[in-house]
């Protein structure tokens, strides 16, 4: 993998496409410091190793293509204030607020995917790393998710997203790179 040399501005969306297995997810995971990596990463001039790993990951939030769940009930994945955030955000992504009281296994794949995105958005991080965030969604839901992401970008959040959809990369991405055999090249 790599080496990579890139900058992401506040409010900028970097779209990454490329064949399966090229290392797109691994790249996002390394930026979130979830996988071993070398080199340096800075956020607002602060090198990532000067922060404790959990503190870095709260600022540079990675949302996996198939996000995991660690409680049985959906609501238990959100603490106090975050629950209010979910109540406000869920309808915007065409999710019923009552899903909070459901078991995770009762949710459809698409519902779980949107709920996981809300979980990541609830942290209000300056950077979002989104892996196939609309992979399991129909066109309508995809449009709703993209609208929320555009709002975040307008508010200054930087987003790096992996997508299999060149159309989505064109719609959201200010820049579009392709991952090919562990290298990022212009699309």
């Amino acid at each position: 993998m790599g080496p990579f040399d890139l900058e992401l501005a506040s409010g900028e969306c970097l779209a990454i496409t490329g064949p399966s297995g090229a290392g797109k997810s691994l790249f996002l995971r390394m930026v979130a410091d979830l996988d071993p990596n070398q080199g340096q990463m800075f956020l607002d001039g602060v090198e990532h190793r000067t922060l404790a790993a959990p503190a870095w990951r709260r600022k540079v939030v990675y949302n996996a293509a198939e996000p995991g769940w660690w409680h049985e009930r959906v609501a238990d994945h959100f603490d106090g204030e975050a629950v209010e955030f979910v109540r406000a955000m869920a309808p915007r992504l065409a999710l019923a607020v009552s899903l909070l009281d459901d078991q995770v296994v009762q949710l459809s794949t698409g519902e779980r995917q949107r709920m996981a995105l809300i979980r990541a958005l609830a942290l209000a991080s300056p950077v979002l790393l989104l892996d196939e965030v609309t992979g399991a969604l129909d066109e309508d839901s995809t449009a709703l998710v993209e609208a929320v992401l555009r709002e975040r970008l307008a508010a200054g959040v930087a987003i790096a997203m992996v997508t299999h959809s060149a159309a989505q990369a064109a719609r959201l991405g200010h820049r579009h790179l392709r991952m090919e055999a562990g290298r990022l090249v212009p699309a």
Binding site: L34, P54, G68, R119
Partner: protein, 271 residues
Amino acid sequence: MNAILLTPFDLAIASVLIVLDGVLSLVLRLGLHTQLAWAAGRMVVQLVLIGFILRLVFALASPLATLAVVLVMVAIAGREVAARPEQRLGRFGNYAVGASAVAIATFLTAILALTTAIRPQPWYEARYAIPLAGIVLGNVLNGGSLALDSLLGGVVRERAAIEAQLALGASFGRAMRGLIRASVRRALLPIINQMSAAGVVTLPGIMTGQILAGMDPLEAAKYQILLIFLLSGGSGLAAVAVVYLAAMRLTDDRQRLRIDRLTARTRGPRP
């Protein structure tokens, strides 16, 4: 206490039961008679051999010889703990984790019992220290291997859930908490069952042995209670030590989940 001593003739009579099993195997064509003969033979040789070794070590009355015997037992138990799980930690991790946890739990438990409850003179006398360490080891081994299997299997199964928590800024300890608790709980279930059933469903082995050897049943019961307390304590200690030692090997200085340090045990095709 008057033990009724057994003669080789007594054992020979009891062995008639094994011969009977063998005859049944032949008549019913179970094909077990060879295995049965081997297992019975092995058992006799192993037990007589350990009897001679213990007699020698007791006679030596040397703390070093006692320690050596206990260390060999701990090493074998550590290997058993390491061998059970489907998943292996790299660089002999399973063995390091198993042997350290078993050693910590066994030594702490056995020394506590020897210096407070049983109090032989001296406290490390081989006649007491070795059998006690042995029985504690047997249970510690069970607790430790269940905990290790549960933790390593759980990490693989629940990888997405653990990494989702890490990705949202949880510490590694926080992300592993549920699995750590579940693993310790699973390791303690057998001993809890054993305590609940003791004396009702079965007469525990030690108590049976002591009653057969002529001890007053109430005195035998006291010994058994002491031992069960020790075994529960030892199992709990071993389970906790195993899960924390193993969890430490599954992370690094950046609190990542290092699943790459695990490999599945290679097995031949199942019949």
